[in-house]
Symmetry: C2
Subunit: 142 residues, 2 copies
């Protein structure tokens, strides 16, 4: 039997985050002591670890919910999980592309700044004049 603090430490999660997961139905309601404190077993610990690891890989909570469902019903076909992972991979790759473009523009800005005062600042100038911008940024989701 573990307290919430114990599974928090073991999985590197904040206590409040675990309670939050319970609130949104991602973690089950655990048993309680007579005094009302939560007590967890190994299954819950595993589930939380699964959630945390998925989060670290950037999966949104909704995707994690699906993955947990799949994990709970072992006879369902695997391709659903596979597809969720592929979707996530694609998202990560898109973000990387986007960051690459940002990086090059930022690098250019910083490089050209020769240090004077704000009136001649190349950084500010670039920000002011969008036409100098080489890349297209449609969506902002960095």
């Amino acid at each position: 039997m573990f307290t919430i603090g114990m599974i928090a430490k073991r999985t590197g999660t904040k206590v409040q985050t675990i309670r939050y997961y319970e609130q949104i139905g991602l973690m089950p309601e655990p048993g309680r002591t007579e005094g009302g404190q939560r007590r967890y077993g190994d299954a819950e610990l595993d589930r939380l670890a699964f959630i945390r690891h998925s989060r670290q890989l950037g999966f949104p909570l909704d995707a994690i919910r699906e993955l947990l469902d799949l994990s709970d019903t072992p006879d369902r076909p695997c391709h659903e999980a596979d597809e969720i992972a592929r979707r996530q991979l694609k998202l990560v790759e898109q973000r990387m592309e986007r960051l690459k473009a940002l990086r090059s523009e930022l690098k250019r800005m910083v490089k050209e700044c020769s240090g004077g005062n704000a009136a001649q600042c190349r950084v500010l100038e670039v920000l002011r004049d969008h036409s100098e911008c080489l890349t297209d940024h449609d969506n902002i989701g960095v």
Copy 2:
């Protein structure tokens, strides 16, 4: 004189977003018609373009506030703007590193999935067992 819809279209911003910027003090309160509708001039249009371009480069609103201050006082030294840009560049590079690690783990997961049912699913297995994870992910900020 432009309506809010016009500067929205010109800068690729949603109307609500402009009102939000006004609310948090990033955009000034513009003049109004007798009926109470906002009317903007060129200065405001430029300011909004500056904000949007900065956002597209990933600068947080606080940083943009500083950049706008600098831009408004041309005799202040430039290195402050330079430093903000450098900070942003560093952040972008950190995020890229992180995404690279995620990508490789996701790729591995997806590659090893041979398609069967959830019980043998490699994706779920990897998520379940954190010890298979090669990279360390301390903070999640993807």
